[in-house]
Amino acid sequence: MDKIQYTSKVVSNEKLCPRFYRLCIDAKPIVKRIQPGQFIHIRVAEGLEPFFRRPFSVYRAQNYIEILYEPIGLGTKILATKKKGDDIDILGPLGNKFSMPPAGTKQVVMIAGGIGVAPFLILSDILKKRKQYELVLLYGGRTGGHVCDMREFKKNGCKVFVATDDGSVGVKGRVPKLFSKINSDPRTTFIYTCGPNPMTAAVQEFVKTHKLRGEAACEEVMACGLGACLGCSIRTRSGYKTVCYDGPVFDLHEVIFEHSG
């Protein structure tokens, strides 16, 4: 347990856009080990409410661990009250990681919905160093308030395209309206996606139609984060898999996206 559990310090906790916050944590023992797609599991309060830890994809891991969150539930609302210097109990890094694009890849398309954009900044931090891909981010948010300043992505050389449900930023509509930006060439295009199930299901449909390859970072209610309780299992073509231990990253063709109500 001392391999993964750390009491760390909050470095900063700030609003990035009207709906999303960025929490920055000083966790020197692990920050260099974190791989794109991995998550940290935060105990937001010491008492019994909320009872579970909360899992967050790592947004960036340079000097500090950064996570992105939207204060909508009990856990994230408490997280939003954290101040510089506060202690924070984290487990991590947990889960598997995104694989690197296969040989021959020219275009890498990251398709994100809402807070699902989080794992793609750290991914683009790594991919830009390879200097061989056209990096594209297709981002869908409910409103303009869900659209972050995309400067960090642009600095990493990503071409950013945005769709919002209310049309206040970018194209009006959902992410599939941006699929025309994808070079649908199975030999040279690789897809990464993360977001709500209806969106990732649409990405999967597109990828199947065009025989593209890709990976999805998945989400499910999670308790232990360590593959012990088998509570966060999702359906895949090879049976149930835990998001926390087998995932959160799965082959996009493997996942069966469910209960997407």
Binding site: D2, G231, C232, S233, G261
Partner: protein, 304 residues
């Protein structure tokens, strides 16, 4: 300081273990030297055939606890013996293997396979999982409890522990039936049958519709069951139900349990079982107690 406790002829170096289904991948996440300090480890329940488990969502957070309806996802007894048992054996802590047969025959066959495999300290019979769509649990019927314990006991070369359900009118009746059939210990309690409804959709939030409630929310009720049973039976009790820290664990020991299992707490604090063990030591030191037997069953029956 003597912390050791006995079940049948097996000695455990201290009374702290983990509840079935709450502990896994020790080799990857845990400091091996630390895990070795535990009195015993109980892996997730094994069935005869492999089981894929229930449809998601399988868990939900509740006030001071959680519901689960995992559905005993496991590789089956052959897969367990081949792949998982060696990893648990490597830890070097006594193993109590939790088993579940959907028929008496399956209970016996699993027992026989574990007899041959060896390297374990005891069997815990899961007579009380609420998530398998059985109309009635074995542990809800004293006759069925007697029958299953008796059959396993006649076939097992290891001590046999019967794990009991809280959803009964009189748990002491069931505990006595297990003892009469030769159980070397009883463990209690399993989760309470429970559910949560999403009022927007008017659907149960769990894929299995119902689940089992665990965590500190059930602790005082679990303690009551343990206290009731301890006054009626002679064999040792392994207690579980919402233990988060040493104080919680001590309540169960004082009520009459010989061992305590940390369960749901492992999901929130992976060091919970070790902190419980350390806290029991501190308590004994503070109260100048040399032997855990001075704690076990030491509840003062007078009200004030």
């Amino acid at each position: 300081m003597n912390l050791s406790v006995k079940i049948a002829n097996v000695t455990f170096k201290n009374p702290v273990t983990v509840a079935s289904g709450t502990f896994g991948h020790a080799e990857k996440f845990y400091n091996q030297e630390e895990v070795k300090k535990l009195g015993a480890i109980v892996p997730k329940t094994v069935t005869y055939f492999s089981q894929q488990g229930n449809s998601p969502p399988r868990i939900i957070e509740t006030p001071a606890g959680m519901l689960n309806a995992i559905g005993i996802e496991n590789p089956g007894i052959d897969g367990f013996i081949e792949k998982k048992l060696p990893l648990f054996q490597k830890i070097g802590v006594p193993l109590i293997i939790s088993i579940l047969g959907h028929t008496d025959e399956q209970f016996i066959k699993i027992t026989e396979k574990l007899n041959s495999a060896g390297g374990i300290s005891a069997l815990e019979l899961n007579l009380s999982c609420p998530n398998l769509k059985h109309k009635i649990l074995v542990a809800q019927d004293p006759m069925a409890t007697y029958r299953v314990v008796d059959k396993v006991k006649k076939n097992s070369r290891f001590p046999v522990i019967a794990k009991l359900a809280p959803n009964v009118t009189d748990i002491t009746e069931i505990a006595l039936a297990a003892q009469d059939a030769g159980a070397d210990a009883v463990s209690l309690i399993n989760t309470f049958a429970a559910m949560v409804i999403d009022v927007r959709t008017r659907k149960s939030v769990l894929g299995n519709f119902t689940g089992g409630l665990s965590g500190p929310a059930i602790r005082p009720a679990a303690l009551y069951f343990v206290h009731q049973v301890a006054r009626k039976i002679k064999v040792p009790i392994i207690a579980m139900g919402g233990i988060m820290n040493a104080d919680d664990a001590l309540q169960f020991l004082i009520a009459g349990a010989s061992m305590v299992a940390v369960g749901t707490a492992n999901f929130v604090n992976p060091r919970a079982s070790l902190e419980v063990l350390e806290g029991i030591r501190v308590y004994m030191k503070e109260h100048k107690l040399d032997d855990i037997r001075e704690v076990i069953g030491s509840v003062r029956e007078a009200r004030h």
